[in-house]
Symmetry: C2
Subunit: 417 residues, 2 copies
């Protein structure tokens, strides 16, 4: 069995797994605080017995594992996998070939392509782990606030595992994401307000209803689940990590998760240096950028076409800020127009229809590249977090309906005599 | 190098690969005929030197190959793979875990899940092979008529390979499919009319413009490409084939391709019996069902919510009919209401959001099962040909926008005091 503890990111106190899990704590029992429209305080991380793990599996053995199947190395997860059979776990498998390599204007650019995950987004990584934990704890109902991807992911995973999902979304949610959530039989609650409001409302209702809350960052397993991308990057690149990773940032949990995965690998002594993590936000939703500039958080309602990263109060703000600082990374903003151009360019250059938030990652790369802030020998990775078909309203902006063509008039249309 | 010939499905004459390919023949040079709103006559199939293949690879070695990578057994394809490097081929890889197993009301049901292919549909199988052949022949521009999936697939594959795609679609195409096609930089032509009209128009224009025509069935490589699912089923089931396969049928090329794959395996002596192939059509688009009943083809404009299988003139009608007859299968129709219920049931039972055409396969299963036409020990496979996000208008039918909820009123909404 694996042994792990929970550690508070704010006060740094350590807690046993039993204390946290048996009492259904989410945040630090001492200093944790969840407030309306504010980043969370006292988010918990999971710490493992790395020496114990190394005795069971060495670097070379780890690198020979297939990517996308995290249960093959159970000691790095806060889950007791022995209670699950292979059928359940195999429903959670991600594609093996997510890491794609390209040349772009002479530079080496890789993409982590999460657009073909079971529900077509990165969020499957977190939902899987949370749902396994719910099963382990004997919980039947899980809730989450979502801009759409976390919700459709949790709905899909819960359906596979026979759990009930309750999903709180802003009423502006793109149709495709709403339909995914409903199709998988989840209960959906359309909140008149922003994602930030949905987050706070899910928090209140779940407390009353005693639902297991998957709210991102609030549930520490969301960060743990999202760390698996770092392992998959390590495995798929055969240990040759990229130098810089561009990550779209809303609540800041994907960047925190990726940081955590590399942190684990460093603790294991398997990597020396962490890649620089670049947080990319939309200009109308850039609380992390402003926090890093001014040293304090200020709530400002968010607005951007990149619906997945539209949040005025990034719940994992402090951890995301640390991930940027510790890795010598950076947080930058890109405009909605830059996101749109980047979406078009990704389709054109890398042949992937990425959703707007994912396109922000590439827009961020273009910005730093044009400012000569990337050395030519640096290997770049972009995290492509979700499929473009999840929000087609935005891609319709650059894909207008063309004039139609009648059968009788085709020769004129094609200038054929 | 592999050796193969072309064989006419109508007059049964054989032609050398050189004669067909060097002269850009699509249909049989002797009896081939393409007419407006009619099934094609003289469709060509490819025959291999099966003895030569068996000397290079035996059944057990074949079964150890990973599914989804057809170029690993080059002798069963009409392509000279030595001209392609791994980078190009790796862009065409399909997920390894497409064959999913479930229990449904006590029965063993498997799904071939094509919803996570590179462009989220079965059509990637055909587009890949056609694009490789175009490359081999030194052709730069490819055309296709499509209800949407073949087009978005060809657009995606062409983009990856640096080829230009010209896609003819009915103007009623679902937005998501149109956007996929446009995003990948293809030229799209919205035809005022049906898919049948788009097919005929693509035929005319391509002849004038000398574009390589991927029109389904017309280009024999579409049937060859679509056969790979049979191999993948064989590999993934470790040689234990299903007894009955339900396949949605529009033009009849998927069912012909799957038949062809099993035909190859039988020629190799690796399987004894072919699974029964059940062709499922929509009631408003059931030319194959009527052809098998009456023994003759009659054109009737098609209408169904299952846009991918909406065609009044299935171009591969005769081959599809043979596939049904030779395997002791059957062709059946299901109503649009049955397709809708099946779509909901697939999401609910198998956790996949399938597009309406794919849902027809399950509706067909339910129909035969309720009529006690399936023995309890028979293993059933459904081909899930496309992702539901490609046509959300239909799934909106059973996923209405719910009433929204205000923050201040949440206690009333959840009946909390």
């Amino acid at each position: 069995m694996n042994s792990y503890i929970y550690n508070c990111f704010n006060c740094n106190k350590e807690f046993s797994a039993e204390l946290i899990e048996d009492n259904f704590h989410y945040l630090c029992p001492d200093c944790g605080k969840a407030e309306k429209n504010r980043p969370l305080k006292g988010v918990l991380t999971v710490e493992y017995n790395y020496d114990e793990f190394k005795k069971k599996l060495n670097r070379e053995e780890f690198l020979r594992l297939p990517p996308g199947k995290f249960w093959l190395y159970p000691l790095l997860w806060p889950i007791n996998f022995t209670t699950f059979n292979e059928t359940i776990l195999n429903q959670l498998v991600l594609p093996e070939d997510q890491l794609l390599s390209f040349k772009y204007k002479g530079a080496d650019i890789s993409l982590m392509d999460e657009t073909r995950n079971p529900t077509l987004s990165y969020k499957d990584r977190a939902s899987s782990l949370v749902a396994l934990k719910a099963k382990e704890l004997g919980i039947k109902e899980i809730s989450a606030a979502s801009t759409g991807n976390a919700g459709s992911s949790l709905a899909g995973v819960c359906a596979r595992m026979g759990l009930t999902a309750h999903i709180f979304v802003p009423s502006s949610i793109p149709s495709a994401k709403r339909i995914q959530i409903q199709s998988f039989g989840a209960n959906i609650y359309l909140v008149d307000g922003s994602y930030d409001d949905a987050f706070d409302l899910c928090f209140e209702v779940s407390k009353e209803k005693k639902w297991y809350n998957r709210n991102t960052a609030y549930n520490p397993l969301t960060i743990e689940g999202k760390k698996s991308a770092a392992y998959d990057i390590f495995i798929s690149s055969k240990g040759k990590l990229p130098d810089i990773i561009f990550i779209p940032v809303g609540d800041g949990v994907i960047i925190s998760g990726i940081y955590k995965g590399f942190y684990d690998l460093k603790k294991l002594g398997w990597i020396e240096k962490l890649p620089k993590l670049i947080a990319v936000q939309a200009e109308g939703s850039n609380a992390l950028v402003r926090y890093l500039e001014k040293g304090k958080f200020e709530f400002k309602p968010a607005e951007t076409i990149a619906d997945s990263i539209c949040t005025g109060a990034p719940r994992n703000l402090f951890m995301a800020a640390d991930a940027v600082k510790i890795t010598n990374g950076k947080a930058i903003s890109v405009g909605d127009d830059e996101i749109l151009s980047a979406q078009k360019l990704i389709a054109n250059q890398f042949k992937i229809l990425a959703e707007p938030a994912s396109s922000a990652a590439f827009a961020g790369y273009l910005k730093l590249s044009e400012a000569n802030e990337i050395a030519s020998k640096e290997k770049v990775l972009l995290i492509i977090t979700g499929n473009g078909l999840k929000n087609i309203t935005v891609s319709e902006e650059w894909n207008k309906i063309p004039k139609s063509l009648s059968f009788s008039g085709w020769k004129d249309f094609f200038s054929i005599k």
